[in-house]
């Protein structure tokens, strides 16, 4: 690989101070360090050796944990397409092909638009290109509907990177989760393209099969508040004739149903969670506490039982919508989450509680987890403030004893 290093070394002077492309040094630098781990050494004082981890590897670990969801997303997008148009016998290759055609452009647009913004900001601000977007760029497509217009993906990504991240100073300084900001932006700016009957890709020229209503488990739950039907019964009845048992509990867990591209499968999310926890890239306290909070709130609602949605068994809340995906990949974003260990429990539990609260009480926004996480992102510093204060108080009390 010496020729590669030589090639980089030969163009490097053009980017360094005094070179003709001096302005673009950090763009060059980002590519150089992507190919070769830099040769910087530790300083004369301080630690003389460093842990082998760096930000690139940490972020890459999160992306690796997203691979199960991405692969499942491609398959499921194709599968839902063929189910919705009444061709459940379509071959696996056809399914994957449709999935690839729908999903890959969204991923590509997300990365291209987001990285362009990152490179521009790195050049203007004269700092290294941060690795944070590598994860956001994968999370954004996975929480989009499969048939989202690509220009909206680009717009939402650019908006989120600039407003939610760069405006605060870049990766590590942001208050809100970048990927969820992108989704929330679309949700409020273009509600027609990200709510209602958008969760299965039908495609032009195709007719939806009889009985296909575009419903999701959450919309069935929201409707139950007004029509009073038993939610579990409605879920089990849906899909009869063209996709039997599509909303059964076991299938909701497996994830073969319409929804955000990569967020439907609890199983895949749990595989991702196992990777995150084993590698230390995601915090198990947050993941567990989100699930506990949602389950606990579900139980409380079961006990109250004021309407049909409240009576939905609590464990259903854990498998419908983006609950698992949000808990595992979004809530654990270390920058926007609570940073103290005690705070992480409080933060996670409140996300879970709020998610179910929003689902049940605010049917205008059937997916609660997005807003719950964004809301708790804003509150995380407050939680930390009280946890840190407890530490300070403990220290003061110790002094007087």
């Amino acid at each position: 690989m010496k020729f590669l290093r030589d090639a980089l070394d030969s163009v490097k002077p053009h980017f360094e101070k005094g070179g003709k492309w001096e302005k673009f040094y950090y763009i060059y630098e980002a590519h150089d360090t992507l190919l070769f781990a830099p040769k910087e050494t530790t300083k004369a004082t301080g630690v003389q050796i460093r842990d082998a981890i760096d930000m690139k590897r940490l972020m890459m670990t999160v992306i690796i944990s997203l691979i199960p969801c991405l692969l499942f997303a491609i398959y499921n997008t194709g599968l839902q397409h063929y189910w919705a148009i009444g061709q459940p016998d379509a071959g696996v290759m056809d399914i994957i092909l449709v999935g690839l055609i729908q999903v890959i452009p969204i991923v590509a647009v997300s990365y291209i638009s987001g990285l362009t913004v990152e490179f521009i900001f790195a050049t203007i601000r004269k700092h290294e290109v941060n690795e944070g977007f590598l994860v956001s760029g994968m999370l954004v497509p996975l929480v989009m509907p499969p048939d989202i217009p690509l220009w909206q993906v680009a717009l939402a990504t650019v908006f989120a990177v600039i407003i939610a991240k760069e405006a605060f100073g870049g990766t590590g300084m942001n208050i809100l989760n970048v990927a969820l900001t992108a989704r929330a932006f679309l949700y409020f700016a273009y509600p027609g393209d990200i709510s209602g009957d958008v969760w299965s890709y039908i495609g032009s020229g195709n007719q939806a099969v009889a009985g296909f209503t575009g419903a999701t488990p959450l919309s069935i739950g929201a409707e139950a508040i007004t029509n009073g039907e038993n939610v579990v019964a409605s879920l089990n009845a849906y899909g009869a004739g063209w996709a039997d048992g599509i909303f059964s509990f076991s299938n909701l867990f497996m994830g073969f149903y319409p929804g955000s591209i990569g967020a439907t499968s609890v199983l895949m999310c749990l595989i991702g969670a196992a990777i995150l926890i084993a590698t230390g890239a995601g915090n198990w306290k947050i993941i567990l506490s989100v699930f506990l909070g949602a389950w606990g709130m579900g139980l409380v609602f079961n006990a109250i039982g004021a309407n049909a949605f409240m009576e939905l068994p609590a464990h259903y809340h854990l498998v419908i919508g983006g609950m698992a995906f949000g808990a595992i990949y979004m809530a654990t974003d270390p920058v926007s989450a609570s940073q103290t260990e005690t705070g992480k429990w409080i933060y996670g539990i409140l996300i879970g509680v709020l998610t179910v609260l929003i689902r049940v009480f605010n049917p205008a926004y059937p997916e609660g987890i997005m807003l719950a996480i964004l809301f708790m992102n804003v509150f995380a510093p407050l939680i930390d403030y009280y946890v840190v204060n407890a530490n300070k108080k403990w220290r003061l009390q110790r002094a007087t004893v």
């Binding site: 910087e40 050494t41 530790t42 300083k43 301080g46 050796i49 460093r50 082998a52 760096d54």
Partner: protein, 454 residues
């Protein structure tokens, strides 16, 4: 009332090059040096010697204008051959070309029974004159103790848990009577307790086991269990307005020798360690020794870094550099200034890591002795990861928030979050594990300087 404390948090960095337990008395190095930079809080060092002067072991070399009573003395006799200065004429090193036979300045000597009758003032006076006072370090701030102060307790850590740390049993063998005399002297300096903290997990050397007049506490756990700051936190934490002193066993022994024999005897044993040393072993020498003779013809490779101290808290020195005042270890590891294709993602079992992110497999083999080089393993970034510093700091201190309060220069916050309880070495492991590659030890010192001087 002795205490037994088990620590769980921390990390033992297992690297190659542990010194084997032979102690050699080789040719003594030609030069020795006093480095004011080894001490924090020497603001205006004033030299009392010039190049060409002859000094004896114990002759004052310099003092701090802010603290004139504390004398820094020559460790050996000989001729001052060089006074090295850095930027803005900052004094870096006073180099002494040693005599073949060391001559000592004469101080008062006492028998063991006479020691008991000495008053606190007499003891302090002799320690200041005899040049052993700089061994006493005050917390907060980690600076040389003030002679007039009265610390609430004095702490001695009787083991070192740093990577490749020397075995204190070998370092201090046969110094029992001096150690005990030193303890007796120190006991006069504090109205409180003298704590001697030993390692619960290994055999305690007789020199510590039989020590009297002290409270012996047992500590167990991974590094930084041997750091005196961690021990203080669990025994008798430092609150606002309180002072404690710390001292290494080497200092206690030198105090003992000064009182029993009436001379400034700076002899010490050091361990030459690290993967690039051919025969890592112990050497008998004196404080401030040049490493030139120890490392000559004793290296496995050319492109190496010489470190006085250990790989976490040490300092890079030249091949003819001098060992720091408080160090009893020299580490030689490979320099890491190389590019590595896809080094940031390649799975590896050869690089040591506390973390387990993708491809970092060192956790599978915790007893392997890794060859660690000085590569920075990435570039500095903003804080992203949370919760990892907490896993390597066995203290009730919130490291991330403390570091951020220092960066924000928020004095109230620093104080409330416990800056008085830490010095750089306590957070050295945080710096090692930091994915964002911050210079955490420098930041802690910056915070301590802010609290102290502004």
């Amino acid at each position: 009332m002795s205490k037994s404390i088990r620590l769980k948090k921390g990390f033992d960095i297992s690297i190659a090059g542990k010194a084997n337990s032979t102690v050699v008395e080789a040719d003594q190095p030609e030069t020795f040096a006093i480095k004011p930079t080894n001490f924090h809080g020497i603001l205006r060092p004033k030299l009392t010697v010039a190049v060409g002067d002859n000094v004896k072991a114990g002759t004052p070399i310099l003092f701090d204008k802010k603290n004139e009573r504390v004398k820094h003395v020559a460790p050996v006799s000989g001729e001052i051959v060089d006074i090295k200065r850095g930027e803005k004429r900052k004094l870096l090193e006073v180099v002494i070309l040693a005599d073949k036979q060391i001559e000592y300045e004469k101080f008062k000597s006492h028998s063991v029974s006479e020691l008991a009758s000495l008053s606190k003032e007499q003891v302090i006076e002799q320690m200041l004159e005899g040049g052993v006072w700089p061994h006493l370090i005050q917390r907060p701030y980690g600076i040389i103790a003030e002679a007039d102060a009265s610390p609430k307790a004095i702490f001695i850590s009787a083991f070192d848990s740093h990577p490749l740390a020397p075995d204190y049993n070998l370092l201090y063998k046969g110094q029992d009577q001096y150690f005990q005399a030193g303890l007796d002297v120190l006991k006069k300096l504090t109205p409180g307790t003298l704590h001697l903290n030993v390692n619960a997990k290994s055999e305690v050397a007789p020199i510590f086991e039989h020590a009297k007049n002290v409270q012996i506490n047992k500590f167990s756990g991974p590094h930084p269990a041997g750091n005196v700051g961690i021990q203080i936190h669990h025994l008798d934490p430092i609150n606002k307005g309180e002072l404690v002193w710390t001292i290494q066993p080497q200092g206690v022994i030198q105090i003992g020798k000064l009182f029993l024999e009436g001379k400034h005897d700076a002899s010490k044993t050091i361990a030459l360690t690290g993967s690039e040393v051919k025969t890592p072993q112990y050497y008998k020498t004196y404080t401030g020794a040049s490493i030139k003779k120890f490392v000559a013809n004793n290296l496995n490779s050319d492109h190496v870094r010489f470190i006085t101290g250990n790989v976490l808290t040490g300092e890079k020195i030249d091949a003819d550099g001098h060992i720091g005042f408080f160090d009893n270890q020299v580490t030689v590891i490979p320099e890491g200034d190389y590019y590595e294709l896809f080094g940031w993602i390649k799975p590896t079992t050869d690089k040591i890591s506390f973390q387990r992110a993708f491809g970092l497999l060192s956790f599978l083999n915790p007893n392997k002795e890794f060859v660690a080089d000085t590569n920075n393993r990435g570039q500095e970034r903003a804080f992203v990861q949370t919760g990892v510093f907490e896993q390597v700091l066995p203290m009730d201190v919130l490291p991330t928030h403390l570091i951020k309060s220092i960066l924000a220069q928020d004095f109230d916050e620093m104080e409330a979050l416990g800056i008085y309880e830490v010095v750089e070495e306590d957070l050295a492991l945080c710096e090692f594990v930091d994915v964002s590659k911050h210079d955490i030890q420098d930041i802690i010192r910056e915070g301590l300087d802010l609290m102290q001087y502004s």
